[in-house]
Amino acid sequence: MLQVVERVESLQRVNDFVVKFANVNGSGSASANALFAKSVLRMGVTATPRNIFPSNIQGLPTWYEVRISEAGYMGARGGGPDLMVAMNPQTWDGDIKGIEPGGYLFYDNTKPMPASKFRDDIVVVGVPLTRMTNEAYSNPRQRQLFKNIVGLGALAALLDIDVPCIEQLLAEQFKGRDKLIEANVQALHMGLDWVKANLGDPVGLKLRKADSVGDRIFIDGNSAAALGAVYGGATVCAWYPITPSSSVAEAFTAYCNRMRVDKATGKKNYAIVQAEDELSSIGMVIGAAWNGARSFTATSGPGVSLMSEFVGLAYFAEIPAVIMDVQRSGPSTGMPTRTQQTDLTICAYASHGDTKHVLLIPEDPHECFDFGALAFDLADRLQTPIFVMLDLEIGMNERLTAPFVWDDSRKMDRGKVMTAEQLEAGAKFGRYLDVDGDGITYRTYPGTHPTKGAFFTRGTSKDSMARYSEEGADYQENMERLLKKHRTAATLVPKAIETKAKQATQYGAIYFGSTSPAMAEADEQLNARGVALDMLRLRAFPFGPEVEAFIDAHETVFVIEQNRDGQMRSMLINELEINPKKLAKVVHYDGTPITARFISGAIAKHLNIQ
């Protein structure tokens, strides 16, 4: 069954290669693929999977690419896979074409492909998965599902995956259902034994137990952000389904079911509403927050567009709101299942009138959790919408990340809320009166006091006592205070983190969000080519003073981002009045995650380094 085409110098690598699974959407491959990645992790080797999928439920091709790197590189490597597991005839030609020279093709050769369908510089490994499962199972559904597990067994034999690791994972996955565990283990060994009996050792890519995982956990960013919302004390979630953000609300629902149901009554300490559209979901969020509940929505770019009018109102009326934006590529259908950092300016300046909003930009699931919780404190403290800027790359892919941490002494910061007792004691209340000089004013929740503290919430036509006013002076005073509040925000948001080069350098690089792992790897590649870079990872907007200081300290600063127009670069120029010539644009926006190869290549080219 082994078809080794002559004169191939096949790849020989240990704990450092890329495997790509080409699947048919809806064929049950997802759980077997995840098992593959997790079994590598259980061996102590860093594995970073990525789902590549179309906007489709069933039938169209999907891919699952796993980068295995004992060195710990987690960004997309770029290039083709070293091993292609080609289970989808529809994408066969493209899949074969993509394999790295000297790489391997694994396929189901129940019906062997003619030699013309291969390349002469790859090793082809055929395993008759369909024949095996058809012989072993009569139920068509079982045949399909177990085919994936038989395939995993075959791969385990070829790559030396530790079999007890897989068996342990199966036992955990189907805990309490012993028959299912037994059946899966049987299927696993069917593949394993067949390869051992029929093939030698044709694949030069090997896994060995290592210690590069540590205590890290494996989770997707959307789930982490949702868990952050639970810990952040969110009680109201209103949302409208949109890829790639839907799983935020779904994960929030699952976590709440587990952790937020009152044991005595079975009633819920939360309310989740799937709204009729994004206009409504943000309206509910704002209504709930106005009334003192922590509330949030999750959406993507088109949803942000729809929400913009309300976001403006919340900015001017000063109502907390948390919006988790899982960014994707553009409108409509198709590219929206691809990743981009493309909603920066629309979120930072969402809505009509002069507005500026707070953005939190997590780099990985760990920060998705942290910022997911922090967003609610900031929203209450600043009484304004807070955007948590995920993207599809972070949001929809499970990845290794530092374990979540919570300090039990931490309490929700509800910000400046005047209570009935304070009002009763004679505290002066003016809804938009800046008594502390930080631009943040006191609010009251509806229903607080019979005669004091009530106010009417409007957009801009008001004075500092929340009375209706169309006076220009009142408007300007309010707008200046909002600007002051935005400056206060800059002192409260997470600071940018600098990583200094080993030697002094005139070159800086600014990056953020899901670019993080690729940037770290690119830095090593550039170092190897003699380029030293100081790096600054932005974590929020508005920018703190450290951002301006970093730019000032370098002659050229590369701004690396995943959109066409260099949106973050524009914001830096706009907010800090930086000379545009100083900020070199490095943009990657084809919908695939940015790679170290791309970043180092672009910077080297800019510096004329061969």
Binding site: G233, T235, N269, I282, N291, A293, P403, P446, T451
Partner: protein, 351 residues
């Protein structure tokens, strides 16, 4: 435009309600709407209803969208929190506010432009979710603030002040509310205080989505000959279905019960709606019959007013969501935040 407070001088003999409030305590600043606007009559009816029901003003949250009608919450219940939100989106804001605190009374005021055009979707979904609120549409069939354009409730063939004829079919919000599952549906006329006040009172006591379509002529742009929302037109074509006396739960119930003309409807909280029926065959608890009846009378050119449908045992949005009894906005860290140990267990499950 400025803010015009009303003088706080009260006549010493002003009648007080059970909470010790006078009618003046339920008012707001002076209205800036046109003199004679039907909307001001509705505001006055709201003031009277809240006073008579002994509602503490600060326990009401009043919400609106954009338009003449949506300006009115400023002019009543000055001691209540108010929210003048976005055009057509009052229902979502009210839904969210209600989710945060189920203990307040939510009074949404909207108009035909706000609810039948830009906000039609939000209106529909608030009704079908059963948001526990009073939703009043001050329906004048015209855009007032933008100077007289037709709205989606303008009748086909109605004539604008500029002489244009409306060619489009009108949207019937009452019919929609019935179809969408609102548990209290009524129509009234701003000029009929005797009917409107008890309807608002009953709606305020109703524990579910209570919708009142209140025809409210626009004196500036829709009170001329040829308009089907003018005072004269509505008075001529009004076919009152029933008149309503509202009896709150704690009052002693003494009624003259005359079979065939009176019907008693007990709401969930024990309050009683005493219907004086003009059409003896009309069953106020029959949603399907209500829809049929409305269609028939509309075809005959009548504007049926009165209580059209009420579900005596409504379920509201919170009941559907099975939320805890305590308002969500009162829940503290110990209830909401699972803590470090739970997180450690979660971490352990993710390795």
């Amino acid at each position: 435009m400025t803010f015009i407070p009303k003088p706080k001088l009260h006549h010493p003999d002003l009648q007080k309600n059970a909470l010790g409030y006078t009618r003046r305590d339920y008012e707001g600043p002076v209205s800036t709407l046109c003199a004679g606007c039907g909307h001001d009559s509705i505001s006055a009816a709201i003031v009277r209803a809240c006073f008579e029901l002994d509602i503490a003003p600060h326990r009401v949250a009043k919400l609106s969208g954009i338009g003449c009608s949506s300006k009115t919450p400023t002019y009543f219940l000055g001691a209540s929190h108010g929210f003048n939100s976005v055009h057509g989106r009052m229902p979502s804001v009210a839904t969210g506010a209600n989710l945060a605190n189920k203990e307040l009374i939510y009074l949404g005021v909207s108009g035909d432009g706000d609810s039948a055009s830009i906000g039609l979707g939000q209106f529909a979904h608030a009704m079908r979710r059963g948001v526990n609120m009073v939703y009043i549409v001050e329906n004048n069939g015209v855009y007032g603030l933008t100077k007289g354009q037709f709205s989606a409730t303008s009748d086909k063939g109605a004539k604008s002040k500029r002489g244009l004829i409306n060619a489009d079919e009108p949207i019937d919000l009452v019919g929609m509310a019935l179809q969408l599952g609102a548990t209290f549906v009524a129509r009234s006329f701003s000029g009929d205080k005797a009917q409107l006040v008890p309807l608002i009172e009953a709606a305020l006591k109703h524990q579910g989505a209570a919708f009142i379509d209140c025809v409210s002529p626009c004196v500036a742009f829709n009170n001329h000959e040829g308009s089907t929302k003018s005072f004269d037109y509505v008075r001529e074509h009004n076919a009152a279905l029933n008149t309503l006396d509202f009896i709150s739960a704690r009052s002693e119930i003494t009624v003259d019960y005359a079979p065939g003309t009176l019907e008693m409807v007990t709401q969930h909280d024990g309050s009683i709606l005493q219907l004086r029926k003009l059409h003896t065959s009309y069953d106020v608890n029959d949603r399907v019959a209500a829809m049929t009846y409305m269609q028939e009378r509309a075809a005959a050119g009548e504007i049926v007013t009165g209580l059209l449908y009420v579900d005596p045992n409504p379920r509201d949005h919170h009941a559907h969501l099975n939320t805890v009894d305590r308002p969500l906005n009162e829940l503290s860290d110990d209830v909401l935040v699972p803590g470090a140990r739970a997180l450690d267990r979660l971490n352990a499950g993710l390795r």
